[in-house]
Assembly symmetry: C2
Homo-oligomer: 526 residues x 2
């Protein structure tokens, strides 16, 4: 059998656009002599559609798009994912289309993705479909991970329609999982994934075909649309998994996520508040890479506590990137605001209030530029500072999307060095100086927090590895430090609740992967 795999970038609700892409691939598959062409989970609708999955108009349009696609499938079988209304619920299904007719639907058994448990129901699960004498087990989404699935000994091909979200390290883990499954089940195995960004999600592609030995015999691109036809009957050479570089993958994931966020929303221009620090430098460099230097603008907003080198570093970055940048001091606004509100302060001294006030003015200035000229504000927070609440709500937390919010500070540094791999875009000073919010004299992040090397290790254990304070302390970390970090993490959930969408790059993205109540007794966990 000649099998075509179409790995495409869909837009949620763009049934005309998605169908057109799918039909184009059907035609290409026929041209190349394929008997079967396959598409990802919920390809027709795009994913995740959340409550649109229960909107009758949305489902009806999806069904109509399916009919139209079916009309273009004469002389070929197509298997394409879509949400489907069955009785009183919507399920994630695959339509089997043969010679222009929809001959069968296969549904997903267990809905486990957090993006879908509120919106989709469970169904029967995988089924064996005969396509030109080849027995194909059609498995939707995460069902492939159900332990001990028994496809029977007659199955020739396992077809896994996926919608796997990128996270660090997943490409290699997934490759190994599927390779072992093909070998264990003694069947060929084809995996078809989405690519593309959907607000905070990046689908990374890397669709693959394995043979019964667990060898990879076809490998589609990562982070790009791709199409290939594989002759399953031919003796094919085993392909190695392309070398995976963590920074390169993160870089490509962010670029794709940012690109699709802008294109699918009809945005073209972005602005970034440039502090001279590492986070805004990396955010801005990525924006320029994706949108072009003519579409990115930097706003440098020094206060009376800004050091000379900050403005210099910010200007140098803007010059290296070749973007328009403006210096807009906040001092007069800050002075006016303080004069107006300070009489209410009962004579209390300078504290975090005045620091936040400056950050609020930064946020307001960025939003003003955005409102007046259409530059979309990019948030510059990282995961470390969001986790411990070392942020000003409505200040540096503003923005339409956070592209670094799922990277720990140490990972932001690592990505910065990757960005500098060919030429120095981010200055040595930005890379090496001690991080500071510069909202009070001589301020440094380490005045409040452990060194980021230590903080990030503790946070990773707390968040990604779900370890308790006691477990981390037992592993050799100072109990009081761990307790302080955990306490900060819990106490600052209220800020994260109001943060912009964070581009997901890890298995536990703040605000999505670990949801804690905002009102509860903290002591039970310490």
């Amino acid at each position: 059998m000649k099998l075509a795999l179409a790995q495409l970038d869909y837009t949620i609700g763009d049934f005309a656009g998605n169908s057109s892409k799918i039909i184009h691939s059907v035609r290409q598959a026929k041209t190349e002599g394929a008997q079967l062409v396959v598409f990802a989970e919920q390809a027709i609708s795009g994913r995740p559609a959340y409550d649109l999955l229960n909107d009758p108009v949305f489902l009806e349009q999806c069904r109509e798009a399916l009919e139209e696609i079916a009309g273009h499938c004469n002389g070929i079988t197509a298997i394409v994912g879509l949400p489907l209304q069955v009785e009183n619920k919507t399920i994630s299904a695959a339509a089997i289309i043969r010679d222009g007719k929809i001959v069968k639907f296969v549904g997903k058994r267990n809905v486990i993705s957090r993006d879908e448990t509120q919106h989709l129901g469970n169904s029967k699960g995988f089924e064996i479909v005969d396509v030109d004498g080849v027995n194909i087990a059609v498995v939707i989404g995460s069902d492939i991970h159900i332990p001990n699935l028994d496809f029977g000994s007659d199955t020739d091909l396992i077809l896994s329609l996926k919608s796997t979200i990128y996270s660090r390290g997943i490409v290699a883990r997934r490759h190994e999982f599927y390779s072992k499954m093909a070998y264990r089940k003694q069947a060929k195995l084809a995996v078809l994934n989405h690519i593309g960004g959907q607000t905070d999600i990046v689908y990374d592609g890397w669709s693959t075909v394995f043979n019964e030995k667990g060898e990879c015999i076809a490998q589609l691109k990562g982070f790009e649309e791709d199409f290939t036809v594989v002759d399953l009957a031919a003796p094919l050479e085993a392909l190695p998994l392309p070398e995976q570089n963590k920074n390169a993958n993160v870089y490509r994931a962010i670029k794709l996520g940012l690109h699709d966020f802008f294109v699918k929303n009809g945005f073209s221009k972005a602005c970034v508040g440039l502090s001279g620090g590492i986070d805004s430098a990396v955010t801005c460099a990525l924006a320029v890479e994706v949108l072009g230097r003519e579409n990115v603008r930097g706003l440098i907003m020094p206060s009376k506590y800004s050091s000379d080198h900050s403005v210099e570093d910010a200007v140098a970055l803007a010059q290296n990137l070749g973007i328009r940048h403006d210096i807009v001091p906040i001092t007069d606004t800050y002075t006016a605001m303080r004069e107006a509100i300070t009489p209410l302060f009962d004579g209390k001294p300078f504290d975090v209030t005045e620091e936040n006030m400056q950050a609020h003015i930064h946020g307001a200035m960025l939003m003003a530029l955005s409102n007046k000229l259409g530059y979309i504000v990019l948030n510059t927070n990282n995961k470390s500072e969001s986790a411990v609440g070392y942020t000003t709500l409505y200040g540096d937390t503003v923005g339409a999307i956070s592209i670094l919010g799922d990277l720990y500070k140490t990972e932001v540094y690592s990505l910065a060095r990757y960005i500098n791999r060919k030429e120095r875009i981010i200055s040595e000073n930005t890379l090496t100086k001690a991080p500071s919010a510069e909202l009070r004299p001589e301020q440094k992040d380490t005045d409040y927090l452990p060194d980021y090397e230590l903080l990030d290790v503790i946070l990773y254990r707390l968040i990604e590895e779900n370890q308790s304070v006691d477990e981390i302390a037992t592993a050799g970390f100072d109990y009081d430090t761990v307790k302080k970090v955990y306490t900060l993490f819990i106490r600052n959930g209220y800020k994260r609740y109001q943060n912009p969408p964070v581009l997901r790059l890890s298995t536990v993205t703040l605000g999505k992967g670990k949801i804690l109540p905002l009102t509860y007794d903290l002591s039970c966990l310490l």
Copy 2:
């Protein structure tokens, strides 16, 4: 059988406090001669605990609390709800405790609450438990709504451990549902609910016992802790459902939610930005009712576009409530900010940018007061303006909690009149003047939006009744108006994404009950 019902207000994670309340009620039940005492779903842990439900430390503490409670149950049977780890998942369960021993767990069959689908697994469902010769069907949470549950003909009592969230009209609907079920199943039926606020949730209590005729034979209080012992064998008079007044219930729900948000978080003081408008007036009046006038403070922040009557109305409200209020003009700050940023505006004229700038300064001023003196900022947005995005993100959307965000504008007026039922707290002018943000000369909300009477009806159909644009137009509304409202609703999801928690008072709270993708092709729904 003498059955004790303990309707209590729990704090998530406060195992010591929750156990202590439960044990106190066990003692009281024994004192009053009850053979069985029952508690709500997930009483021991508090609810909803989100990802704490999968935290081993949390579950272990919950288990320990259960053991301690069991130790106090000699000479009585207790049925108490808790999350329980079973194999690789956590389920919502009831522990049956008899004579100091945990004799059985009953689990919830279908997890359907949006607060739990990401965190809990399904289980076996109801079981019949024999307590002193009485056959009791123990049913956890929403399982009671599974169609055609068959408890068998030997069941004497159906026990429904609930955690029902308040929404408008639910008390009467629930009463009717349970009454019919008792009659249909020809069994007595006891419903045990939580009361209390958990951030955005209010549990409303109203625990009830019905006899086989469907008559209510015991009725606990709404919105308050309560305890009662019912002799199921005695001939008891049928009680009518206490009269339900929508405004009174909403008023009590908000008061309870606000009270518990403050008490459970250890807060005591609140501030409100007073505009002279209806939303801030109602928010402030409720805060004073809950926290006391000495703990509420108003900030009046006129701009050059504020009318005289706005400040007068705001001052009058503060005086009627007897709270401290300060007038802090934002004009100088606004002027300074405009002077700093306007050179970047390419000569473009005054537009929504300058309106938002004023709102951002309002937000910053409120946060400054909060940061310096510990006043928690109460958000004043209503559901109508949030739905159509007639708000300034990081401006009037700031706050720790939104207490009116699930009330349409017309409902806010209705609540205002209820607040004025005994004495005039909110001025006639605030009640009758045309709503305006007063961020540009002569501005009125109706410059942008349909009249609220019309807008609210359309929004209710779109949001609560899930009707499509076509359906609403067919019902007699102007197509273009409906389409405009729906387009605004969809396009402004990005603002609602970053809003504070909204106290839930309806069946479809924005941001919780109807979740739409932020990036998608809008045209598919129009």
